[in-house]
C-alpha cells in the first residue's frame, strides 16, 4: 500500500483545499470588481439570486451542470490516466455536430426508442474519435497533448462554422436569404424530454449522473480502470508491470473525448435542439475546472458540477441585471485552477511530513512500482 498516497487521499486539508481555492478566487474577484467601480456584494448577490432565486432558476442551474458533469468525468479519466486533455471544448462541438447531422438525416424517420440511444451513441463516438487523434499522436509520436488538443479545439470550431454555414445549414435560412449559420431544428424523436417546464431541465440529468457512477466503477472497480490509473501514476512502473502504456494513453483520451462528445450531444438534444453558432462555448474549459474542483473524482464531480453550474448561471444573471460581464467567471475559474494545482504541493508536503512522523519515510515511487507489479499479476 502506498502510504504517502493514502495519506494524501485521507487528509482533510486535501478535501478542503478546493473549497479554500474557490473562496480565495471569489475574494480576489471581489477586489477586481471593486477596483472597476462595481459593488461586489451586489454582483455576488445577483449571482446567488440568478442561480437559486426560485425553482425555475434552480432547475436551470441543474440543466447547466449536466454538460459540465459529463465533460468533467471525462477529464477525470484522462488526468487520472496521465494525459492532460484540454480538448473537451472541441470534442463537445464534434459530438454535437455529429448528432445534429445524424438527427436531421436519419433520426427523424426512427421511433424515439431507437433514435435517442442511437443519437447518444453517435455523439459519444464522434467525440471519442476526435479525442483519439491527439491520444494516438501522444502515445506513438510523442506529440504534446496539451498543444495538440488546443489546436484540435480551434479546428473543431472552424469545422463547426463550416458545416453550419454549408451542408448543415437550416434550409429555411437559405429560403429566407438570411443565411444565419445554424442547423434545422432536430426532429422530435431525438429530443430529451423536459422535466419541469418552463425551465429547460431535461432527462439528460439522469444520463450524466449514471455516467458519473459508471466512470467511478470503471476507474476503481475494473482491471481496465486500474491500468488507466497505473499508467497515470507511474509510466515506468506500469510498463514494468506489463501494461501497454501507449494503448492506455489512447484509451483514456478516447473515453475522455467520448464523454465530452456526449456532453454536447445531451445539450443539443435537451436544451437547444438545434446547432447554433456559439453553442456551448466555454463548457469544455469549465469542465476542466469542475474536474479539478472535484479532486478528479467522478463522484466528487457531481457536487462540483452543480456548484459551477450555479456560478455560470448566476454570472449570466449578473451580466443582465447589473452589467457585470460574465467573463468575470472565466477569470475566476482561471484563478481556481491555479489555486487548486498550487495547493497540491502543500498537501503533498504535509503527507511527507506525516509519513515521516509515522516513522516510515517510504520512497513512494519504488513502493508503487511493487504494488503495480504485484496487483497486475
Amino acid at each position: 500500500m502506498n502510504l504517502r498516497k493514502s495519506l494524501i487521499e485521507r487528509d482533510p486539508v486535501a478535501i478542503l483545499a478546493p473549497v479554500v481555492a474557490v473562496a480565495l478566487a471569489l475574494v480576489v474577484g471581489a477586489g477586481i470588481l471593486l477596483a472597476l467601480g462595481k459593488d461586489p456584494m451586489e454582483a455576488y448577490g445577483s449571482m446567488l439570486k440568478g442561480a437559486f432565486g426560485d425553482a425555475n432558476r434552480l432547475n436551470n442551474t441543474i440543466t447547466r451542470a449536466i454538460p459540465l458533469l459529463l465533460v468533467a468525468i471525462g477529464i477525470c479519466i484522462s488526468f487520472r490516466g496521465g494525459v492532460i486533455n484540454i480538448g473537451a471544448e472541441g470534442q463537445l462541438f464534434i459530438g454535437a455536430v455529429a448528432v445534429t447531422a445524424f438527427s436531421v438525416t436519419v433520426g427523424g424517420s426512427l421511433p424515439a426508442i431507437l433514435a435517442v440511444p442511437l443519437a447518444l451513441l453517435v455523439g459519444f463516438s464522434a467525440g471519442a474519435a476526435w479525442g483519439a487523434i491527439p491520444g494516438y499522436l501522444k502515445a506513438y509520436f510523442d506529440v504534446n497533448e496539451i498543444l495538440s488538443t488546443v489546436m484540435m479545439n480551434q479546428i473543431a470550431t472552424q469545422m463547426l462554422l463550416l458545416l453550419l454555414s454549408g451542408p448543415l445549414i437550416d434550409p429555411r435560412e437559405i429560403q429566407l436569404g438570411t443565411r444565419i449559420p445554424q442547423s434545422a431544428q432536430l426532429p422530435e424523436s431525438v429530443w430529451l424530454g423536459r422535466l419541469a417546464p418552463p425551465s429547460r431541465l431535461h432527462t439528460g440529468v439522469f444520463i450524466a449522473l449514471l455516467a458519473a457512477v459508471v466512470v467511478y466503477l470503471l476507474l476503481w472497480r475494473t482491471p481496465l480502470g486500474y491500468r488507466v490509473r497505473a499508467v497515470g501514476q507511474n509510466k515506468d512502473a506500469a510498463r514494468y508491470a506489463g501494461i501497454s502504456v501507449p494503448l492506455y494513453m489512447v484509451l483514456s483520451l478516447t473515453l475522455s473525448g467520448g464523454l465530452a462528445g456526449l456532453a454536447g450531444t445531451v445539450e443539443v438534444m435537451g436544451v437547444t435542439r438545434r446547432m447554433v453558432e456559439g453553442f456551448a462555448v466555454g463548457y469544455g474549459f469549465s469542465g476542466i475546472v469542475v474536474a479539478l474542483f472535484g479532486r478528479l473524482h467522478p463522484l466528487g464531480a457531481i457536487p462540483s458540477a452543480f456548484f459551477f453550474g450555479a456560478l455560470l448561471t448566476g454570472a449570466e444573471q449578473m451580466q443582465r441585471t447589473i452589467q457585470v460581464p460574465s467573463a468575470t467567471m472565466i477569470a475566476l475559474q482561471g484563478l481556481v485552477v491555479i489555486f487548486v494545482v498550487s495547493s497540491d504541493v502543500w498537501v503533498r508536503r504535509r503527507a511527507v511530513r506525516r509519513a515521516a512522523r509515522l516513522g516510515s519515510e517510504s520512497p513512494a515511487v519504488e513502493l508503487s512500482m511493487e504494488t503495480v507489479a504485484a496487483e497486475a499479476k
Binding site: I84, I86, N144, L292, A331, L335, V337, D344
Partner: protein
C-alpha cells in the same frame, strides 16, 4: 504587362504583411524559449498576450489616456512581467503542475481582458497604432525595400531579438545559467547558481515578451482590440519552440511559416484562388495554421531530443 505589375505589388504587400504578422509569434516564442530553456513550460502565454494586447491599446486610445504608443508598450511589458511573476511563483516556488497552471493563467487572462474590455472600453477600441518606419537607403531598394524595410519598430525589434537571444543564451553568464538550470539544476545548484532566481528571471522575461507580443498584435498589426483576438497564437508560439528545437533561428523560421499560413486567407482572397472554379471556404483556410501546428509537432519529434532535460520538473534543494 499592367496585370503582372499589380500581381507583383500584391506579392510585395503580402510578403511585407507576412513579416509584420510574424512579430507577435516571434516575441512570444522567443520569450517562451527562455522560460523553457530554464526548465519552465509556461502555457499562460495566450493569456498574457491577451492582457498585453488589451492594456496597451487601451492606454493609447481615447477610451484610456491617449498615451504615446511607447507608453502602451511599457504597460504591456509591465502586465506581462506581473503575469510572468505569477507563473514563476506557482511553478518555481509552489512547484505546481506546469501544464495545468499555465492553462489556469490563460483562462485568467482571457476572462480578465474581456472583463476589462467590456467595463472600461464598452466593447470597442480603435487606436491610431504604430507608424511604419522606412529605414534610410535600404527602403529604397527595389522590391526588397518595401518588403523588409518598410515595417514598424516592433517588427524590426522582433527580428533583431533573434541574434540577440542567441548571443544572450550562448555568450552571457545569465544565458549560461538559464541553460544550466534547465538541463541539470542539481549540478547548477552545486556550482552556486541560484536555480529559483534564474528560473524566475527567465519566466518573467518570457512574460514581458509575451506582453509585447500582445501589444504588437493590437497596437501595431490591427489597431484594435477584440475579445480573444489572439485566437490560439500564444499556444502556437509554445509549439514553435518545440518546432525550432529550442534554437532562436529555427524558431524564427517557424514564425515566418506560421505567419504565412495565418495570412493565407488574405492571399487567397486577394489573388482570387479557386479550386475547380469554386472559392475556398475561409473556415478551411483559418484552420490551416492549427493543422500545420499538429503536423509540425509530429515532425519535431526528432528535435525533442534537444529538449531541456529538466523541462516541467520542479527543483527542490537537497533532492536528487
Amino acid at each position: 504587362m499592367e496585370s503582372s505589375r499589380t500581381l507583383l505589388d500584391i506579392l510585395i504587400a503580402a510578403s511585407g504583411l507576412t513579416l509584420a504578422a510574424a512579430t507577435p509569434f516571434l516575441f512570444a516564442a522567443l520569450g517562451e524559449l527562455f522560460a523553457q530553456r530554464s526548465g519552465v513550460l509556461n502555457l499562460g502565454v495566450e493569456g498574457i498576450m491577451l492582457m498585453g494586447a488589451f492594456t496597451s491599446v487601451f492606454v493609447i486610445s481615447d477610451k484610456g489616456f491617449n498615451a504615446h504608443p511607447a507608453v502602451g508598450l511599457l504597460v504591456a511589458m509591465l502586465v506581462g512581467a506581473l503575469m510572468g511573476l505569477m507563473m514563476a511563483f506557482v511553478s518555481v516556488t509552489l512547484q505546481a503542475e506546469q501544464g495545468i497552471s499555465g492553462i489556469g493563467l490563460t483562462l485568467f487572462g482571457q476572462g480578465m481582458s474581456t472583463l476589462l474590455f467590456r467595463v472600461l472600453a464598452a466593447g470597442v477600441i480603435v487606436a491610431g497604432g504604430v507608424e511604419k518606419i522606412d529605414l534610410p537607403v535600404l527602403s529604397n531598394l527595389p522590391v526588397l525595400g518595401s518588403i523588409f524595410f518598410h515595417q514598424d519598430i516592433l517588427t524590426y525589434a522582433a527580428f533583431a531579438l533573434v541574434p540577440i537571444s542567441v548571443w544572450v543564451l550562448n555568450r552571457t553568464t545569465w544565458g549560461l545559467q538559464v541553460r544550466a538550470v534547465g538541463q541539470n539544476p542539481q549540478a547548477a545548484d552545486s556550482m552556486g547558481v541560484n536555480v529559483a532566481r534564474v528560473r524566475y528571471s527567465a519566466v518573467i522575461l518570457g512574460g514581458v515578451l509575451a506582453g509585447v507580443a500582445g501589444a504588437s498584435l493590437s497596437m501595431a498589426l490591427t489597431g484594435v482590440f477584440q475579445e480573444n483576438m489572439t485566437a490560439g497564437r500564444g499556444f502556437i508560439a509554445v509549439a514553435l519552440v518545440y518546432f525550432g528545437g529550442w534554437s532562436p533561428w529555427k524558431v524564427m523560421a517557424g514564425a515566418l511559416l506560421f505567419s504565412a499560413a495565418n495570412n493565407l486567407q488574405i492571399w487567397v482572397q486577394v489573388l482570387d484562388v479557386r479550386v475547380a472554379g469554386a472559392a475556398i471556404p475561409p473556415n478551411l483556410l483559418i484552420m490551416l495554421p492549427y493543422v500545420l501546428t499538429i503536423v509540425v509537432l509530429i515532425f519535431a519529434r526528432e528535435r525533442q531530443r534537444r529538449e531541456p532535460a529538466a523541462l516541467t520538473k520542479p527543483f527542490e534543494r537537497g533532492e536528487n
